[in-house]
Symmetry: C2
Subunit: 337 residues, 2 copies
């Protein structure tokens, strides 16, 4: 293994000069820097990560905690993870993957051993047990999702409340008067996952504001679950003409189920969804949707973390991405009666 002293000898300077030439933390003459860089290339030098971490108390690694639980759409998690990794790399950092399963002990472990410099936590619940820990930790963190009490924490998310509202407002603008929300699987609500609850709030508030009749229906992420909800809706709300879907996996089966039951989309039923754009656009009936910008969220989270690591104390505590609705083929004005 070639080390910094080898480079120093080869370039005819001291090890500290090599270090400064690399880090830029002190001025080094162009001439010297060039010699050092040439030696580095020639010898194939790579600084030892452990030694660097020990001396500088920076590992240049971020922890990313990903959810495993049911009811969470996997491709979204993956998009998010990839975007965190890509962004971290732009700042010369790597990403350590932790599973939710490891729990608070896992966070403690990687933080206390200085394995990572900072943490990103996904799938935050309203009353997440990890919050006190994250507040107390000496290392910065960013949460994806907003807990009930976010003081002292940095959070990033799509504004799900506004997303729910936007879907309803769109349907209201098209003249629909009776709407339903087909939401995430029941366990997601039981766990008080923040984003799911916020959609419900936004949905309900906008429906009330527009004096629309509305109802909320958790839905299993399976074709059978979607069919069940569709049948239930037809039975209980025959006047229904607008549906908001916040459940990636149920979206397509739900449309199928409605059509099997004799409802044409969008002729008889308008549908809006909150889901990744790629999904909405690829369906048999492209669905009008509010995008779930997983990649952007990941990038934002990583960037906020880098700012915090850089000592920036003016990092915003809350970053809510405004929802953006794309019109597609699943919505139409309500037919005049």
């Amino acid at each position: 293994m070639v080390k910094i002293t080898d480079v120093a000898r080869h370039a005819g300077v001291s090890p500290s000069t090599v270090s400064y030439a690399l880090s830029g933390k002190r001025p080094i003459s162009d001439e010297t820097r060039r010699r050092v860089q040439a030696s580095i290339r020639e010898l194939g030098y790579r600084p030892h990560a452990g030694a660097r971490a020990l001396a500088s108390s920076r590992s240049n690694v971020l922890a990313l905690v990903i959810p495993l639980r049911t009811g969470i759409h996997v491709p979204v998690v993956m998009q998010f993870a990839v975007s965190v990794v890509t962004t971290a790399r732009r700042y010369d950092h790597d990403v350590l993957l932790l599973t939710q399963e490891e729990g608070e002990e896992g966070l403690h472990r990687v933080a206390d051993t200085a394995l990572v410099d900072a943490l990103i936590v996904m799938d935050v619940q309203l009353h997440d047990p990890r919050l006190p820990l994250l507040r107390a930790l000496e290392r910065p963190s960013v949460l994806i999702g907003f807990p009930s009490d976010a003081t002292g924490l940095t959070c990033v998310d799509l504004d799900f409340r506004a997303a729910g509202e936007l879907c309803v407002e769109r349907l209201a603008g098209l003249g629909h008067r009776v709407v339903a929300l087909v939401g995430s699987p029941p366990e997601v609500y039981v766990r008080e996952t923040a984003f799911a609850q916020r959609v419900v709030q936004g949905f309900t508030a906008a429906a009330d504001r527009n004096r629309m009749a509305c109802s909320v229906h958790p839905c299993e992420a399976t074709p059978a679950g979607a069919r069940r909800v569709a049948e239930h809706l037809l039975r209980e709300q025959p006047a229904l003409t607008g549906v908001v879907v916040h459940n990636e996996a149920a979206l397509e089966p739900l449309i199928d189920a409605f059509e099997h039951l004799g409802l044409r989309v969008p002729t008889d039923l308008s549908i809006t969804a909150i889901c990744p754009d790629e999904l909405a656009a690829a369906l048999r009936v492209p669905v009008t949707s509010v995008a779930l910008p997983a990649a952007e969220l990941g990038e934002r989270a990583a960037e906020l973390l880098m700012r915090k690591l850089g000592g920036d104390t003016a990092v915003p505590e809350a970053t809510l991405l405004a929802p953006h609705l794309t019109e597609r083929a699943s919505t139409a004005p309500r037919e005049a009666l």
Copy 2:
């Protein structure tokens, strides 16, 4: 931060004794060990990862390179990643996430800086440009998938060739004489992704052996792509009664398309697939399938790597998991003519 000297002082022993009590690399009396452990708990000591890595030249971190490219089913990648992380944790290791995008330079970086002790590489192609690098690297690695020439490498995968054969044999056993393979998207074959090619080989070999008429059709991972293939098959192979699907995303749309075209599954058309069991079982028509054991592959890969790290020189170079077919509702005997 509490360090090993603090623990040593508190327990009334030397730092090296604490280290040995922790690692077990030298005998320590029960009495002393207990005192040390009590001090560790009381002080909340956690060894500094960087210091440990520097002194021991072991970081206790594995690199996992995940594919980003189109045509790869995301949930499978995720399952795999989670299973690697979980298994690694059992051996007190963590997992660093790299994207394919980083390429060979990324592998070099994490290996040469000693950021990781070993690597797991997914989505291996027949002539993967990373192979020479992996062979030359001083750190052990395990590949998921078999390249064309696997000498000097440790590889793990489902036996896709046998899986393709098994699907055909099953159809043959049911009396089908004309079969088609609906495969991965074209770009997957263009890249020479190993597993896709192997399925084709197995499929073709088994069909030939059984004197069946057969054809192979790459298929986009979209509903539209699936419809196109279904229509094409009906037009070009009207006698078709058996289909093997090796394309997770196209599976459901393909069945829909066949049924829209007037073919009942399994009455008119038997379908077998190679895909994760959860997917096959959850479809409207549960599909007879060869399981894609992502979790088991991840576990195997991680375990092989731990053995190599442990100095085991008798680690098998090739681990091919035997395919396992589960009968479901999508297959039936060919109707007598």
